[in-house]
């Protein structure tokens, strides 16, 4: 029965030019992430990045004659659903790697299941320092706050900040970032006047800004995502708070400018991803992204693109099996990447070092490379 169906399929597709690539069983990645619920926007960005990568991979004939594909299971970034998805993936032998989830409570709740099944959980947005400590099958190419924040502090110093005030999201991500920033600051001659944590659903930052202002800072450092970062800049602008703003890489998104309007004009944005970057990986990604979606990519879609490319490369170099994924991540060196110069994983931390950091400035409503002029 099985045999005859396979024969039939082969017969039906043999006449097509791409017959072999299409008929072959696809190599599958399982994606656990939010497609609905409050974080659905990030899942949507992931999909754009994945699909673009797959266009290129499968357009070039796939991996060893087999197409690469992913199964996206909506978890709403909810731990209960993420663990159910995890069981589904580990039980499906066709799935050889898992990508996601989005937020730490969901990702880390699912980690024990992936670890026990020896299925690689690749949390490409998981910056929680304990995520990769969940087991030797937890990997991440998310930019690491311990690495990023010293860069941010360094740029703050270069911009001439002496007494910055820090506003940070009071989540595991924002907290990690803040601690790393505060640790790096004194060595660079920065005296942080206040560090204000705010809740993720917050929209009104006026009182927070007054509080920051009263600590008499000479600049504001925002450890925010793009939506809340844009709100803060706008409200600072509206309340007439004329302080230079320096924001973390997570605010880099065309939406930051769209939502921030006049408020983000002049803001300094640290970024690992910049469409104007001359490196060929970046240029081809940006051109393809614009052509496919008629919009600008952001760091979430770039991260998803990088991750899917990494997956295809791992399959190609090490073979499409679960064991090969783990072995490949331990072994792979200098993988080209949009976010990083070259990706090599540290086998101890199972994270990547050496992202490209550059400082951008919002000028006339678009991101430009910082011209080196001090802010204060």
């Amino acid at each position: 029965m099985v045999l005859s169906r396979r024969l039939l399929l082969a017969a039906a597709t043999a006449s097509l030019p791409l017959g072999r690539a299409i008929a072959a069983e696809p190599i599958l990645a399982g994606v656990s992430g939010p497609l609905t619920g409050p974080n659905a926007q990030y899942g949507a960005q992931w999909k754009r990045g994945f699909d673009l990568a797959l266009d290129q991979i499968n357009g070039a004939g796939g991996v060893k004659g087999r197409p690469v594909a992913y199964v996206f299971e909506d978890s709403q970034a909810d731990p209960r659903q993420a663990v159910a998805v995890a069981q589904k993936f580990v039980a499906d032998p066709k799935i050889i790697i898992e990508l996601g989830d989005f937020a730490s409570p969901a990702s880390m709740a699912a980690s024990p299941i992936y670890q026990r099944a020896k299925l690689v959980q690749f949390g490409f947005t998981n910056s929680h320092p304990d995520f990769t400590k969940g087991g030797d099958h937890m990997w991440s190419n998310s930019t690491n706050q311990a690495e990023e924040q010293p860069h941010l502090a360094e740029f703050a110093a270069k911009l001439g900040f002496r007494r910055p005030a820090v506003l940070h999201l009071n989540t595991d991500w924002g907290r990690t970032a803040k601690d790393a920033f505060l640790k790096a600051a004194p060595g660079l001659g920065l005296e942080v006047t206040t560090a204000e944590g705010y809740l993720p659903a917050e929209q009104d930052f006026r009182p927070t800004l007054v509080r920051a202002r009263d600590s008499k800072p000479d600049g504001l450092v925002l450890l925010s995502y793009y939506a809340d970062g844009a709100l803060i800049c706008r409200q600072a602008h509206d309340t007439g708070l004329a302080l230079p703003m320096l924001t973390a890489t997570s605010t880099y998104s065309p939406k930051f400018i769209e939502l921030g309007g006049a408020g983000v004009e002049g803001a300094y944005v640290l970024s690992t991803f910049f469409p104007g970057d001359p490196r060929p990986e970046v240029q081809s990604f940006v051109a393809a992204y614009r052509a496919k979606y008629s919009q600008e990519p952001d760091s979430f879609s770039a991260g998803a693109f990088d991750t899917m490319m990494l997956f295809a490369t791992l399959c190609d170099h090490y073979g499409p099996t679960r064991e090969a994924m783990q072995a490949g991540l331990l072994d792979i060196k200098d993988m080209p990447s949009v976010i990083y110069g070259k990706v090599t994983f540290n086998p101890e931390t199972r994270r990547v070092q050496g992202a490209n950091y550059r400082l951008l400035r919002v000028k006339n409503g678009s991101f430009t490379v910082w011209d080196g002029v001090k802010a204060a």
Binding site: A40, D74, V83, Q87, P105, A109, I113, R175, L199, R206
Partner: protein, 607 residues
Amino acid sequence: MGSWLDYTINGLIIGNIYALVAVGLALIFGVSHLINFAHGSVYAVGAYVGWACFTYLNLPLPLTALVVIMVCGGLGVLIERLGLRPLAGAPRIAPLLATIGISLVIDQVLQILFTPDPRALPSPLPEWRITIGSGTIGALDVLIAATGLVSAVVLYGFLRFTRLGWAVRATAQDRDAARQVGVDTDAVNRAVFAIASALGGLSGLLVGMYFNHIDPAMSFQATLKGVVAQVIGGMGNVPGAVAGSLLLGLTESWGVALFGSSYRNLFSFVLLLLILVLRPNGLFASARTTPPEPMTGTFIAPSRVVRVPPWAVGLAVAAAICVPLIPAIPYVLQVLTNAWLMAMLAISLTLVAGTLGQVSLGHAALLLLGAYASALLTLDSGWPVWLSVPTAGVLTAVIGTALVAPAFRLRSHYVSIATLGIGEIVSLVILNWESLTRGPMGVTNIPPLAIGGLELDSPQASYWSSLAVLIVLAGLQLRLLRSHLGRTFRAIRDDDVAARAYGVSLDRYKGIGFAFAGFGAGMSGAIAAHLYSYINNETFTSTVSITALTMVILGGMGNVLGGILGAVALTALPELFRGTAEYRMLIYGVVLLLLIRFRPQGVLGTV
């Protein structure tokens, strides 16, 4: 000192924004005694309609506002006609759930149509600003304040001086009596929903312009703040809602000034609880206001309970025990394990909401308490898991009951709002009490379930241990319902005045009920913590409370087997619709609405 002026002005500005939403909520509550959870969704629709008018039609602001008012007014009429009017004879909790279902559907439709990405909604108003203190206010701030005040004044005048306004108030006071004297109460409801929704849509447009940010998730926050504001001002009191909103804005702003932003919502909810306990009818209520009627009790629609024969229950239990014997279905086991954990929460909630008549909207807080208690006992105090899980149940019972005790004197919707507030407070305290709870980083490396040296971390073992705890809890609860305790609980639910007249101490029995419920929910949270190995303050959100309530109603209020059935159905449904990804929450919402419409007393009937 200058900063205090700034904090005050900032508080008033955000208070203005809350007022826009609170006025519409108050109007609807005043007439229908209904917290309209769909109001926030209408508000989001208003924002998106405005965005479409600006972007595609290039309409000026006044025309855009007119379109928004008409579309949202029409949507309000539709909500009333399709979602609420058919439920006129249903238990009074049914329309409340219907609004939750409608809200799910609208939010999902918005998300599918407009993608979940946030969008900018730039204000076309002129860019002038006046400096006050060391901050400034602009044209939009003035427009928002004016809209809030004018709508409150106009509505007040409408209710007081027009014939339709009188009809609205008559309907609010006594629907049946109003009908007898010839008021067309359906028309009144329609009018009220149209006005309130038009206003809601307009507020969405203005607030979207204010933040230059609209997204489909904006609806829940708006509803939450609006509800708090109108409780402060007095439920159903339109001018009070404006005053309550301003007070809420000021409290938040001053709270941030004193303690920092991370405590912000804590002040809103503490203020909410203070008002509820000290002046349950709001700051501005007159002494003559009649006490609220119980939400389930006296007006509960009598329904025939479906008697499930004991052999069928036995068979179902046996089947459930045997499921893990089927090989290679870890996903099914995980979904069912989740269902058993949710079922523990559901039967806990069905006890307080159904049997005792105290509808809790903050039940997820009990999960958080249990999860943290057990996680911290094992990690910080080195307790074995088999001991820490039941201890977490006991701790949750004690802490949960103590927290809710001040709300024992409340009735009806006030209990629901108080528990909603307590739930948010628990989550915020966990976030901020870092020395104990590790704050936003959460608790990592929680050991798996184990008895002695036997680790229960396989899907089968997790399944059986959750099921075993559920069976014991359900058995205890069924026993309790048949005892004098169960009878007393139902007496309190059906008529607390009569119960008191018979010498029943309300507080003591409510305390026993909540303690029992807290124990079960705490165990559920504790087991979940050991299954997940990582928890933080966002592991169990207010959505879980709403889902649990939906399960309870689906199964039939107070019905233990119904609660379990509801939990299994509502955990399995979204999983079954998994293939439809983006559409599954929409389908879930529609299914929920159909159930409420055609079987509001629940599948197995109210006990």
